[in-house]
């Protein structure tokens, strides 16, 4: 029995950490946040050299064919570094959609290009976890898309993965006629989202139309988002502890005050069990199908709450500096705030968890 990461998974985490430490520090993140033309291509191509976009792509399509837990390990690192990268949309959601719903030709056409980092796919599927008034995409018999997708992840991609109202997936070129994206300024500046209007754009429907498949894609996405929050939360705790150990007030480092220490202990007490929950939820996606959806819900909703608590508490430990832009702590705070809402906020996800168990 072994509950935890394998040696290989430890090495994977280390290699991604090292690359991001060296190439995607906070200054680099700030540049992405300030420059709308910056797609972070250097970061994504560096991650591609490490195999990050290829993690979930089967070997037959030029990928590495690793597990959801491996993807979660990478997500932890990306969250810890508040990295701007299309990992969730391209390497997770699009790959899962193609694997589950694509036919042989579709997988062959897209997966190898995702794996080598040359193709970015944005994800227009917020409808799957919360339909909004005046939004939603309809696919017509002639293969054209009509309507509006809100909260489209990574809109500066080459292609969009669109979930229509029947939960079927479509691929559409971002520069096709009848596709009009508008960036939505939002609080987490390490991610970009857009509203995309489809006015008769020609799209390619993924082969399988079973709406259950879309929910499986969401399950995976939720675990990956939870893992991102786990990494971001751990980073905020680490920063809070380090800051408290060097900040002096009343002739003492503030880390020696119990009022401060207990805040840090409370964060650690929330994060440690969360780590086990996220790892198990990722494991269950591949190995324990009966529990996969419930565990994905628990991971997503629980990490939303833990992320909110840690974001607030770590900021408070930093005092006034935590509130400033100088330290940049808010990049993690906002990233966890973003993670809380996308693919379903905690109340909604808990209701789904109840339904999965026949309790609602």
């Amino acid at each position: 029995m072994e509950f935890g990461l394998s040696e290989e998974q430890g090495l994977l985490r280390e290699s991604v950490d090292r690359f991001l430490d060296d190439n995607a520090d906070l200054d680099r993140v700030r540049k992405f946040a300030d420059d709308p033309d910056d797609r972070g291509d250097d970061i994504w191509s560096g991650l591609a050299e490490l195999g990050v976009p290829a993690i979930l792509v089967p070997e037959a399509y030029g990928g590495i064919g690793l597990s959801a837990l491996d993807a979660a390990v990478v997500a932890e690192s990306l969250g810890a570094h508040a990295t701007p990268a299309p990992f969730l949309s391209t390497a997770v959601l699009a790959v899962a959609a193609l694997r589950l719903a694509g036919d042989e030709a579709q997988r062959g056409a897209y997966l190898p290009r995702i794996a080598d980092g040359s193709l970015r796919i944005g994800a227009a599927m917020s409808e799957l976890s919360g339909a909004r008034q005046d939004a939603g995409v309809e696919a017509r018999a002639d293969g054209t898309l009509h309507g509006t997708a809100l909260f489209v992840l990574d809109p500066d991609a080459d292609i969009f993965l669109v979930a229509d109202r029947t939960r079927r997936f479509h691929l559409v070129r971002a520069d096709a006629d009848g596709v009009e994206g508008t960036l939505l300024p939002q609080v987490d500046r390490t991610r970009r989202i857009a509203e995309v209007a489809f006015t008769g754009a020609s799209a390619e429907a993924l082969h399988a139309s079973d709406p259950e498949l879309a929910l499986q894609v969401i399950d995976l996405g939720r675990v990956i988002v939870a893992a991102d929050t786990l990494g971001a939360g751990q980073e905020m705790l680490d920063q809070a502890v380090a800051y408290a150990k060097q900040r002096e007030q009343f002739n003492r480092v503030i880390a020696s005050f119990q009022a401060v220490k207990h805040l840090c202990a409370e964060m650690a007490a929330e994060i440690e069990p969360s780590r086990a929950l996220v790892w198990y939820a990722a494991h269950a996606l591949d190995e324990v199908p009966d529990e996969a959806r419930l565990m994905a819900c628990h991971a997503k909703a629980h990490l939303a709450e833990v992320g909110q608590f840690v974001g607030k508490t770590a900021t408070i430990v930093h005092g006034g500096m935590g509130f400033t832009d100088l330290l940049g702590l808010h990049y993690w705070f906002k990233r966890m705030g973003f993670n809380r809402q996308i693919l379903g906020g905690p109340e909604r996800v808990r209701e789904e968890a109840a339904r999965v168990q026949g309790l609602a």
């Binding site: 029995m1 072994e2 509950f3 935890g4 990461l5 394998s6 837990l69 502890v241 408290a244 150990k245 003492r252 480092v253 880390a255 020696s256 005050f257 119990q258 401060v260 220490k261 207990h262 840090c264 202990a265 409370e266 650690a268 007490a269 440690e272 069990p273 969360s274 780590r275 086990a276 929950l277 790892w279 198990y280 494991h283 190995e287 565990m295 628990h298 909703a301 629980h302 709450e305 109340e347 808990r350 209701e351 968890a353 109840a354 309790l359 609602a360």
Partner: protein, 400 residues
């Protein structure tokens, strides 16, 4: 990630199930710890290796090899079958491991076999009215007079004192030494002249806890574990054992499942509690926490199995804090879904589940405090887990 125990353990689990199936009629049903039924059950369990499993046979144990997974399987199967396992008294869970490590050969032979058999019952004399979280400031004194220690002082929170034959007790023997170095660990009979026991009623209105008063209690000088002044270190080995047992995630899961049943049957305005979205949301929130603690526990277990190859120090340190707070919240939800019925207590009508929700809600508040309060836990987590410095020592006497 590999969560299977392996085929040899699957076979062991079957063995345990067979045993329980065959012998469950002999299990005690609520008889007290001094009953013959309890002693016979304990004897049977030791014989089969389901109690005192790793304690050498020469001291009355089963003499098996240590095996964390087998111990886990035994615990899981007895819990699942709702059959009592081996005795878990303070003598067995705390004193025996200490004697095995630090007792003399004579002490091991004298005390371990009858303790394991349930024939010798112990209570623990640690906390004092003025020594709680700061246990090392304890003042109960023992002065050597010829071949005897003469003990004066008092202990508090001494559960089962009225049932115990013996006490293991921390006393101050070196009043001039620094506080941690002035303590000794003594063993003595509870019927020694000069011992008075008074009940200490807690908020559950149970009188399980006691206060114990010592007036010139005379104890043979060789009834000490370790040397004079080493008692603090002897006791600390035991505290570790106690903390490990407080966060049983399977017990929380059992209660959670019971809570779901309660929510399916309890109705207000004709609506089941489970159909009330606010209650349902609270339930699922707690379910996620229970689930997270179960896997946290598996992670710690796995690290112990693999010789601590991965660092799970923090995961272990947070267990007492989180598990007790979680149980308190879980039991509290049980009360809330019952509304006014959640106020019923004692022997009256309208009790649900024998009033266990109300009782556990208060009992777990006691456990949040006992065995190292949540605040002490946070000190441990931040100092040992996160490397934050200790609060500087300041002498601020209380105002009178």
């Amino acid at each position: 990630m590999d969560l299977s125990y392996g085929p040899q353990y699957d076979a062991f689990r079957e063995e345990v199930r067979d045993f329980i199936g065959k012998h469950r009629d002999q299990a005690p049903k609520g008889q007290g710890i001094r009953s013959e039924a309890v002693r016979n059950w304990q004897k049977l369990l030791i014989q089969h290796g389901y109690a005192a499993r790793t304690i050498p046979a020469e001291y009355g144990g089963h003499g098996g090899e240590p095996d964390i997974l087998k111990a886990r399987i035994i615990g899981e199967e007895f819990a699942a079958a709702q059959v009592p396992g081996g005795l878990g008294s303070q003598g067995i869970s705390m004193l025996v491991p200490t004697l095995l490590e630090l007792g003399t050969e004579e002490q091991k032979r004298q005390f371990i076999p009858p303790t394991l058999a349930g024939e010798m019952v112990w209570c623990q004399g640690y906390s004092e009215p003025n020594a709680g979280s700061d246990l090392a400031s304890l003042r109960t004194s023992a002065v050597l007079d010829g071949d005897e220690w003469v003990i004066n002082g008092s202990k508090i929170w001494t559960s089962t004192a009225h049932l115990a034959d013996w006490i293991f007790c921390l006393v101050r023997t070196e009043p001039d030494a620094p506080k941690h170095q002035g303590i000794s660990f003594l063993l003595f009979r509870m019927d020694t002249p000069g011992i008075e026991i008074r009940p200490l009623v807690d908020m559950t209105m149970a009188g399980n806890f006691k206060e114990v008063f010592f007036t010139d209690v005379r104890v043979p000088k060789e009834q000490i574990v370790g040397s004079r002044g080493e008692g603090w270190y002897v006791a600390n080995a035991i505290l570790g054992h106690e903390r490990d047992t407080l966060g049983d995630p399977n017990a929380a899961l059992t209660r959670l499942n019971r809570l779901v049943e309660l929510m399916k049957t309890e109705t207000v305005d004709g609506q089941r509690a489970i159909d009330n979205p606010a209650f349902r949301d609270r339930l699922i929130k707690i379910q996620a926490r229970v689930t997270a603690m179960r896997f946290n526990d598996l992670r710690v277990l796995s690290s112990r199995l693999n010789d601590g190859s991965t660092d799970t120090g923090l995961a272990r340190m947070i267990t007492k804090l989180q598990a007790t707070e979680l149980r308190h919240d879980l039991e509290g939800l049980g009360i809330d879904v019952m509304g006014e019925f959640g106020l019923m207590y004692g022997k009256g009508p309208h009790l649900r589940d024998q009033g266990s929700w109300q009782n556990h809600y208060m009992y777990f508040l006691g456990l949040i405090i006992g065995g190292g309060t949540s605040q002490i836990q946070k000190n441990i987590i931040s100092e040992r887990g996160l490397g934050m410095p200790r609060e500087p020592k300041a002498v601020i006497p209380a105002e009178h």
